[in-house]
Symmetry: C2
Subunit: 233 residues, 2 copies
């Protein structure tokens, strides 16, 4: 009735998915073990394992040693999306990309920046603000602090031409980071650069990254009103 003749782990994944979506296997059910499924599909256990592991990574199955593989009662689905490299995001929409450096200075870290980056006191950072435009219209306003010790050469980088975003991607790896998304009102200081009215709702992305425990950069990106992040499940 079901098992495909030619198996690959993706076929098995698809078939298991079908059984989940058609409720052949219902939430709370224990599904057959890998060995039995391997027999049914006529393949090696490792192949079944690959398929089930992929589904478990998507939150569609719960797997535990000894306990077996179970259909979760309330599947916790995960959404994932690419963190946009702004130039590509903008060009991907068919718009001409332009980037304008607004400010570049070396300054002691304000306390909230120091906290976000878990910096010691009184570190001097590179502070850069800029706008990314699509077809001449402001797309994102960016306020960034960079730790020169973790990004050697950044003080001499040609940030008039290359956005800090891209310069860092090419010159400074990072091993960990965190992102938050918020809706925030456009601030007075940002309004002009964004060609938006202060107080308008804007999508805001804040990121801080570290490389091997050393803080690299923290950035606040304010997207022009109307921006949408879209992804599939």
């Amino acid at each position: 009735m079901s098992a495909p003749d030619r198996s690959s782990w993706e076929d098995i994944r698809a078939e298991v998915l079908r059984r989940l979506n058609t409720r052949v296997w219902k939430p709370g059910d224990l599904i057959p073990g890998e060995t039995e499924l391997a027999r049914e599909f006529g393949c090696a256990r490792a192949t079944v394992n690959r398929a089930l592991r992929a589904l478990a990574e998507d939150g569609l199955l719960d797997r535990k040693r000894r306990a077996g593989t179970r259909v979760p009662l309330r599947p916790v689905r995960r959404a994932s999306f690419a963190i946009p490299v702004l130039r590509e995001e903008i060009e991907g929409r068919g718009l001409a990309y332009r980037y304008v450096l607004l400010k570049r200075e070396t300054a002691p870290a304000p306390s909230e920046i120091g906290t976000a980056m878990r910096l010691g006191s009184a570190a001097r950072l590179l502070h850069v603000t800029s706008v990314h435009l699509g077809d001449g219209a402001p797309f994102v306003f960016e306020d960034r602090w960079i730790n020169p010790e973790a990004a050697p050469g950044v003080t001499e980088a040609p940030l008039e031409r290359v956005s800090a975003n891209e310069w860092l991607l090419m010159h400074t790896p990072y091993s960990q980071g965190d992102i938050t998304f918020t809706a925030d009102a456009v601030r007075t200081a940002e309004a002009a650069a964004l060609a938006a009215a202060p107080g308008q709702p804007a999508f805001v992305m804040e990121r801080t990254t570290w490389n091997l425990e050393r803080p690299v950069t923290t950035v606040r990106q304010v997207f022009a009103p109307g921006y949408r992040v879209r992804t599939e499940l």
Copy 2:
């Protein structure tokens, strides 16, 4: 110098990651092939494959047949986060969860809903609005349309007690969907339920799901001002 004595694919992953973060292998570089790495690490090629595949899934390597494995010039990192089941999201913050059904009616789909769900004309849907509260304070306002044909039994579901969110999770699987995030101004119709002023910036999540090509539900969730989504990289 580097290769751990005892290898597992995670050790190899970690070691490769270290070489990327310390720029032993730089952006644009071609790294050694699986066979050679297997020799270096003293393990089977499949083990190296597992490690490199994991890194490639995170966007930290580019792999192509025949061409080999390359360190991307501009790594496209992906962020992923769990789509919150609201009750758990709220309880996870240590708040008491409460849910209030505001409206429940059967109505023809408005055109924008029909479009989002790719419905034929004149379908009658179940329309539900509700609020989820944490310690009594509005947390999310939810405006949802459900296709009864894809969610049998939903018309009789006790939505006064169980949120449509949870009822659907337990009773109706979905195979695909899309999500968008936006910042939007709180609408007048939502303001009272959210205890927020109209026009305030709010984080908005819109989701539509299908099960095997049949539209299941579309929902707009407006989070109370100040809400933040946070995840790690």
